[in-house]
């Protein structure tokens, strides 16, 4: 049986103390940390120093938090261009952890942590889980993938430091996940929301009603999800489904999270400074206006990110939150300003698909990405038009070709996706340009 999920979420957890720093003190702390991180990046990261010099700026020019707008942006391509270690501000021997995420060229983006960075990351994940009402005595099933992806280890360290019992089950093997959830009396699960929906549906097929299990909290992230999805998840499983936000370039999970009111995500502003900008002009937007989220790491030693453009579209919620936290909130991420999409928690760019197809064919075929949701799981199919170069009168040759495409896509994307060969000219072109993505997941 479940206990009321809200009873604990409204209780104060000691780890959450920094969430309530009075705003003037928080601003003072942010300025001090911003000045220090700008100086560190200026002294240790060539790219950042050159960009400041181009603008005639020195670290001492940062005299107020508003001065941050004078600093140059950092974009994802900067991480690719400096692959693998070019943006590090610490020597490799001080770095205790490397993670990587996929990039559009097939090369991953590398992120680094010193020992202190891991401690900060752990602390923001502790605060995230505490704000969801979790603590000592909880049994947390961590179904985020372990490995180069930051989700698994990020949630793991936080949950363990919180004093909870952690089950590092990672992703996959749905029936075993359900068995563990029931038999180990799991009270909280970390996963993508779509995977939890899949678990709930599969459990029902096995005759297990999620509402009858002890699980009471869902720690959901790594993909955008809607409020209607949340209501559906909560109704069919009896849990409280919480949203958390993060990205590897900044730290991983733990950049922002909801409180028990589930009305926007509070940033952990003592470590991450958020801005909302106009994605076209780069100008800072007034509070409450919708724009692109830009984040600056205030304490990250190994790899400071100054004004990193997340491409996520959101807005600040200007009213103070009734939970009493002083850290600003953003609306849940509704969309992105580029063409990236997320499938099974993995970032995918159409250009990555192109890279994979090019590697096999030598020339770019007409292709289309079809996204669907089957039994709550996101599925991706790449349709490829048959060209004279690849066509054969032998079935075996075409099947081999399909397999090679699948292997190449898996190599670049890190996930296995379906490939379907289609007739020439069967993919619709609009104004001479093919529509690359057909998203049927919410239809």
């Amino acid at each position: 049986m479940k206990e009321n999920p809200e009873a604990r979420a409204t209780a104060f957890h000691p780890a959450s103390a920094p969430d309530y720093i009075p705003a003037p003190l928080l601003r003072g702390l942010q300025l001090k940390r911003l000045q220090a991180i700008v100086r560190r990046a200026y002294e240790r990261v060539d790219l950042f120093r050159e960009r400041l010099k181009e603008r005639g700026l020195v670290p001492d020019d940062i005299q107020s938090l508003g001065d941050i707008a004078r600093l140059p942006f950092t974009v994802k391509n900067d991480l690719r261009d400096t692959y693998p270690f070019g943006l590090f501000a610490s020597p490799l021997e001080e770095i205790v952890r490397l993670h990587a995420s996929s990039g559009t060229t097939g090369k991953p983006i590398v992120v680094a942590y010193t020992k202190e960075d891991v401690e900060v990351w752990t602390s923001v994940m502790v605060r995230t889980l505490a704000s969801f009402g979790l603590g000592h005595g909880d049994v947390i099933q961590n179904s985020y993938g372990y490995g180069l992806f930051t989700g698994g280890l990020g949630a793991h360290y936080g949950a363990e430091d919180l004093g909870a019992t952690v089950i590092p089950i990672s992703g996959g093997n749905t029936d075993r996940q359900i068995m563990v959830m029931r038999d180990f009396r799991v009270t909280a699960i970390c996963s993508t929301p779509s995977y939890f929906l899949h678990l709930t549906e599969r459990a029902a097929e096995l005759g297990i009603d999620m509402r009858e299990l002890p699980v009471r909290v869902g720690v959901f992230g790594a993909e955008p999800w809607t409020d209607s999805m949340r209501r559906h998840l909560e109704a069919c499983s009896g849990i409280k489904a919480y949203d958390l936000y993060g990205l590897s370039e900044i730290v991983g999970p733990g950049v922002a999270c909801e409180c028990y009111l589930q009305d926007g995500l509070h940033f952990f502003e003592d470590h991450f400074y958020p801005e909302i900008i106009d994605p076209q002009t780069g100008d800072t937007l007034p509070d409450g206006a919708e724009g692109e989220l830009v984040l600056t790491t205030l304490s990250k030693q190994a790899m400071p990110m100054i004004r990193y453009r997340t491409r996520d579209i959101t807005a600040f919620i200007t009213a103070p939150c009734a939970c009493g936290r002083t850290h600003r909130r953003m609306r849940r991420i509704s969309r992105r300003s580029d063409d990236m999409f997320i499938i099974r928690g993995v970032n995918v760019f159409p250009s990555q698909v192109e890279t994979a197809l090019l590697q096999v064919e030598g020339t770019l075929p007409h292709y289309q990405i079809i996204l669907t949701r089957q039994k709550g799981l996101d599925e991706m199919e790449v349709q490829v038009e048959v060209t004279p170069e690849i066509f054969s009168d032998k079935i075996g040759a075409l099947e081999q070709f399909e397999a090679r495409l699948m292997d190449s896509l898996e190599c670049v994307l890190g996930i296995r996706v379906a490939v379907r060969l289609v007739e020439p000219h069967s993919i619709q072109r609009s104004e001479g340009k093919a529509k690359r993505i057909v998203d049927k997941r919410n239809s």
């Binding site: 009168d393 032998k394 099947e399």
Partner: protein, 147 residues
């Protein structure tokens, strides 16, 4: 000796076979024989037609991917064991039959079968040595009238 076969890529969906047939009908090209190799998702239509250059051009103009392959039309004795005897010629020398399909007519107690070999020249040599007739291309293309 060798004859020209056209292959087309088709998706395995209702209605996808009819269009190329209509293209050939408009061009007045006759289909002598055909076969469809299928998987769950797609199929390959292979055919021998009365005028392959014209058919190939028309189908490509209609947007199809067309492949021209050289195959052999072999006369096989139309009696029990007839095909086994012919196939035995290729067994020893590791010549592989990629696929085969038959003409809808026979000639004087012989069936005519289209063979796609991985080593067609070696196959011709063996057939000739064994006294098996490989049908001339002109005869095949005009087969509808002579049969």
């Amino acid at each position: 000796m060798k004859i020209h076969q056209l292959s087309l890529f088709l998706e395995n969906r209702p209605g996808h076979l009819i269009e190329p047939m209509r293209v050939l009908a408009r061009e007045g090209v006759d289909v002598r024989t055909l076969s469809v190799a299928d998987t769950a998702q797609f199929g390959i239509l292979r055919m021998i037609v009365s005028d392959w250059p014209k058919a190939s051009q028309a189908l490509q103009n209609a947007g199809y991917v067309v492949k021209v392959t050289e195959v052999l039309a072999v006369e096989v004795p139309d009696r029990p064991g007839g095909l086994a005897e012919v196939l035995a010629l290729f067994q020893a020398g590791s010549i592989n039959v990629e696929y085969l399909y038959a003409f809808p007519f026979g000639r004087a107690g012989k069936a005519v079968i289209i063979f796609r070999f991985d080593k067609p020249d070696e196959a011709i040599e063996r057939l000739r040595t064994a006294g098996i007739n490989v049908v001339d291309s002109v005869e095949v293309y005009n087969s509808g009238m002579t049969a």
